[in-house]
């Protein structure tokens, strides 16, 4: 494959970032927005071509005769070479999951670019302050995220991982004059950065024992006979297994170093993907502009943790203890976030907790995946859900943005009964809700069904647990839907001030994403994205494959659960009635805990302020101020004194210069001669 296209996919957003960042303030708002959107549109086309070529061209470098998909390194340039083995490369890796992400990221990013053209203006068409900066940061984020998914080695991934963290920080704090936005951006950065510490240590441990950063050698073994070293099959590497099985890799605190490395790496994923207990930053991150929430905090960046686990999945398979940890963390998070989402008032927070819950679904799916269970269906289902969730959650967020744009508030109590005023938003939001609730034939049904199948194959407990969470999902989404669009009718709206649908730049992405959410479930993922690259089913991929391979016993039950949950939500919230208040008063403690997100933030405040700041930071600060600074001041004083003392050397008299020169040369010779001979 030619390297031009993949290179351009990375270069264009970077160039756009530099262009808009450096010269944006001199451009008109319209030009900056259009340039950014056009740039992303180009990336969209190029990425589609690349992904399409990878999946469907059937070229021998991408897929073997037997239909096994291969990892293909498009390019891999040496960036820093410290020693022969310690080399940091930057490259572009094509394999099923990176090609899939090449579809997801540019799609959502382009929609958000387009949508923001309308969203980032007020009702009079006046652009927001910092509009160009917004587009520059969006481009930076797109560049970083694309660089992350196509990384050829774990260090490149780490670099771009930090870059997405930085661009997320910049975008959450976009309204930098608002104190809550500033503290939210700091919170997001610090929490994820803390998690990344684990990631970094994990990388170091892993690469210390394996001697490589490259995914190609970490997760797979070269296939003999096929041309070129850049081609490797996606199967577990015997040599890596041997390294960790040998005595060279000792145990540490009762677990093998591989387990430690993988758990530490997963910790980085927990931070980015907002798994409990590192989830606290994501609800606050909703302080950023809503399109940003759709792009970064729903569809792309927050799934980076899932992507990381999927990327290293062959390694995780060697150490199933790490996978079990992932399942437990994921399952707890999914349930917790769904409970909290049932009580929130702010519509973006509901969506944020729903995102946490859904990402936990993906994590669980990867965690329960084993090659022997239905050909590793969990891996496929996790990736499938990542794909469909990106589409419908971006849709839901963009709808929420439209609502907020029209109403001027995040609170559903300010909304109610909007279905007549904003019909397009209403329909698209409903489609999003149906998709996330898992109603056939919308996208979420298929991916969620596959996840539940995978859970069922692993253990009945997880199956029941996740089904309950799926039911909760349907309930809280329809609660939100009814509270926004039904509940009670507004009659007092003045005709001119009545909420209305938005300009085409905002409507078009909604419609497109709604259509995608309707049909994305029919994408034959079992043929495209599997853990070992081999298609999961016999026969050929077709649009209806997923229907044929549905496990109806599981699907039927999950469908029934979802429908029951929706009916309950309808009864409770369709029209204004006292039932919700009664439910709340029946179990006030539970409601309180859910509403206050189980007091996680308060717990963190207690730990950081009382314990860390008080008991650890204060003594360190004293030590720093008195001992370290004192030593430095002393050193500086000595340096200064010396500097004053020798200034006579530079007298300005040329005869002195020559004299010093001669003495210097003679002394140099004499001292060396005396010392050496």
């Amino acid at each position: 494959m030619d390297i031009t296209l993949p290179l351009l996919i990375l270069v264009i957003p970077l160039f756009m970032f530099l262009l808009l960042g450096l010269t944006g303030m001199k451009m008109s708002h319209r030009l900056a927005g259009t340039l950014g959107t056009l740039g992303m549109g180009t990336v969209l086309v190029l990425s589609y071509i690349t992904a399409f070529t990878y999946f469907f061209s059937g070229a021998p470098e991408f897929v073997t005769q037997a239909g096994e998909r291969l990892q293909f390194t498009v390019f891999n340039a040496t960036w820093l070479q410290f020693t022969d083995s310690l080399v940091i490369r930057l490259g572009f890796l094509l394999d099923p999951i990176s090609a899939m992400m090449l579809v997801v990221i540019p799609t959502i990013s382009f929609m958000v670019h387009l949508y923001s053209l309308g969203y980032m203006r007020d009702h009079h068409g006046v652009y927001e302050h910092g509009f160009q900066r917004f587009y520059a940061f969006l481009s930076l984020f797109s560049f970083s995220m694309l660089g992350l998914v196509v990384a050829t080695n774990i260090f490149q991934m780490y670099i771009f991982w930090e870059l997405v963290g930085a661009s997320s920080y910049l975008l959450i704090g976009f309204y930098y004059k608002k104190p809550s936005a500033v503290s939210a951006s700091k919170k997001a950065f610090i929490v994820t950065r803390f998690a990344d510490l684990g990631f970094l240590i994990g990388i170091l441990v892993l690469s210390f024992y394996t001697g490589t950063f490259d995914f190609a050698s970490l997760t797979s073994a070269p296939v003999d006979g096929i041309a070129g070293v850049s081609q490797v099959s996606i199967s577990t590497a015997e040599n890596i297994r041997n390294i960790f099985a040998s005595s060279a890799a000792p145990m540490f605190m009762g677990a093998s170093v591989l387990t430690w490395a993988l758990v530490l790496i997963f910790m980085g994923g927990m931070g980015k993907s907002a798994m409990m207990p590192l989830h606290i930053w994501l609800p606050d991150a909703m302080e950023g502009p809503t399109p940003v929430s759709a792009l970064i905090h729903a569809a792309t960046m927050v799934v980076a943790g899932v992507y990381l686990v999927a990327r290293l999945f062959p390694l995780y398979l060697m150490e199933t203890a790490a996978l079990d940890i992932i399942v437990v963390v994921g399952a707890l998070t999914a349930f917790y976030a769904a409970m909290v989402a049932c009580t929130q008032v702010d519509i973006k927070r509901v969506l944020a907790f729903s995102t946490i819950s859904q990402i936990a679904f993906m994590m669980v799916s990867l965690g329960v995946a084993r090659p022997e269970i239905h050909h590793g269906v969990g891996y496929m289902a996790g990736m499938f859900h990542l794909f469909t969730h990106a589409m419908f959650k971006a849709l839901l967020f963009l709808c929420a943005g439209a609502l907020i744009h029209a109403i001027g508030s995040n609170d559903y109590t300010a909304m109610h009964g909007l279905r007549k005023y904003m019909p397009v938003t209403h329909i698209t939001f409903l489609i999003g809700c149906l998709a996330i609730a898992g109603i056939i034939p919308f996208a979420g049904f298929f991916s969620k069904d596959e996840i539940l199948t995978a859970c069922f194959g692993n253990s009945t407990v997880w199956y029941i647990w996740m089904s309950v969470v799926a039911g909760l999902t349907a309930f809280y989404m329809f609660r939100l839907y009814y509270l926004i669009f039904w509940w009670k009718e507004h009659k007092v709206h003045h005709p001119e001030h009545a909420p209305h649908d938005q300009p085409w730049t905002m409507t078009l992405p909604l419609v497109i994403l709604a259509v995608v959410s309707c049909v994305a479930g029919f994408v034959p993922f079992g043929f495209l994205v599997t853990w070992n690259g081999k298609p999961m089913y016999e026969g050929s991929a077709s649009f209806l494959t997923n229907l044929q391979h549905l496990d109806w016993s599981v699907a039927g039950i999950s469908l029934a659960v979802a429908i029951v949950a929706i009916i309950i939500a309808t009864v409770m919230y369709r029209k204004e009635n006292p039932l919700p208040a009664k439910m709340k008063n029946a179990l006030p403690a539970l409601w309180d805990w859910c509403y206050h997100r189980f007091y996680w933030d308060e717990l963190y405040m207690f730990i950081t302020h009382k314990i860390i700041f008080g008991c650890v930071s204060r003594p360190i600060a004293w030590f720093d101020r008195h001992i370290i600074d004192g030593a430095m001041d002393g050193l500086a004083a000595v340096t200064n004194k010396a500097s004053v003392a020798i200034k006579g050397l530079q007298s300005g008299k040329v005869q002195m210069y020559v004299w010093f020169y001669l003495v210097g040369a003679l002394l140099l010779g004499a001292i060396t001669a005396i010392c050496l001979i």
């Binding site: 340039a77 040496t78 960036w79 820093l80 070479q81 410290f82 500086a636 340096t639 200064n640 010396a642 500097s643 004053v644 020798i646 200034k647 050397l649 530079q650 300005g652 040329v654 002195m656 210069y657 020559v658 010093f660 020169y661 001669l662 003495v663 210097g664 040369a665 003679l666 140099l668 010779g669 004499a670 001292i671 060396t672 001669a673 010392c675 050496l676 001979i677």
Partner: protein, 481 residues
Amino acid sequence: MDYSQFLVMKQEIALIVAFLLVFLCDTFMPKRSQGAIGWISIIAFAAVTAFGFCPSLLEGNPDAFSGMYSAGVAEVNIKNILNIGALIVMIQALRWAKEDMVKIRRGEFYELLLVTLFGMYLMISSRHFLLFVIGLETASLPLAAMVAFDKHRYESREAAVKYILTAVFSTAIFLMGLSFVYALSGSLYFDGIAAAVTYEGVNTLLVVALAFVISGIGFKLSLVPFHLWTADVYQGAPTPVTSYLSVISKGAAAFAFLVVLWKAFGTVYSEAWEWMLYALIILTITIGNLFAMRQRNMKRFLAFSSISQAGYIMLGVIAYNYMGMAALMYYVLVYIFSNLAAFGVIGAIENATGKVWMDDYKGLYKTNPRLAFTMMLAMFSLAGIPPFAGFFSKFFIFTSAINQGSVAIYVLVLIALINTIISLYYYLLVVKAMFISQDDCTIATFRSACSERFALWVCVAGIVGLGIVSCVYNHLLEAVL
């Protein structure tokens, strides 16, 4: 005699052709079109620079004239690097050359510059001390004329006198050292000396001879204690000449120094010159830093900063391995961009306002943000702050020194590291003056000349770009291996 061996000297010949072209134009062009002489020189020299990157005409033997001259891959690379720097200096000098007192003689400036560069080429490529001395003198004497170029200014004349007197003295010492070497080995070929001087035969005469040779070249590099001329000359000379002295002249001398020590005296590395160089490096870095801290005149400040930078460059020589050679070349390349950026800003401000003191720079960010930003990048790069190129150049040169492996060198690198912290202090003083300090009489907003801005853009691109593509070092390393 085989005349085809002149083809090995293709870069020298191209340079001479360019020089003759400029000389003829300068002599025979009518007075009114003299303004074009700067551009003619730049275009001619740009062609020479581009020519240097062309693949060699000859395959195989890089030596010529029975081994007196050699132009291997490393020599060609360092000459290309110096060419880039000299080209930037020539572009930066355009504005200065238009001044009333200078413009009647501006052709001479470019001619002298090309001649000194030719001398440096010879120093780099010579494998025989006779050729080396010719190169050294060709590179030194015209520089004195260049230093005195602003002869209407007292400081410029004074600087030239100081330069020529100390240069003559250092050459005398150097030649005396050479005569001792000849007495010991009976040869002036580097190979011949290396064959005759072995580690069993280390005696007082050899050590003294080496000390004299080192001090002779150390003068060009302004290693402490042979550096005393530096500050006065840098301050007095016109700014383009100062920048030329501080980067090109120094870079060429550093590489030539490496060649002399490795090729002629490589056999007595650990017996003799490792320890001399060891002492000189510590002295140079430390004393350069201690003096730089106190300077308030920007040109003097950079003079001392360049002294300590020379000490870092010498780490590549003392490393005595190919990594050191590549790291030295990379360091020179990065140093060219960083230092020329700093001098470019100083020159632009001096040309526009005549101000050269650090206190004048207070509040520069408010009035001339781009110049301040460029200066900041240059200071960061010189101080070695990642991700700018200066960090990588220091990193590679320290790595190469550590690869030499002895404990003494570890100590040396540690001392160098401590000195980078001291250097950070004074480089940040400039940044602080520009960005933080307030002053009533800040430099007014002005627009620098196109040529100056272009040169600064190139330097900024170099500082940032070389940091990102630090794999240039790998290419340099592969070339010398």
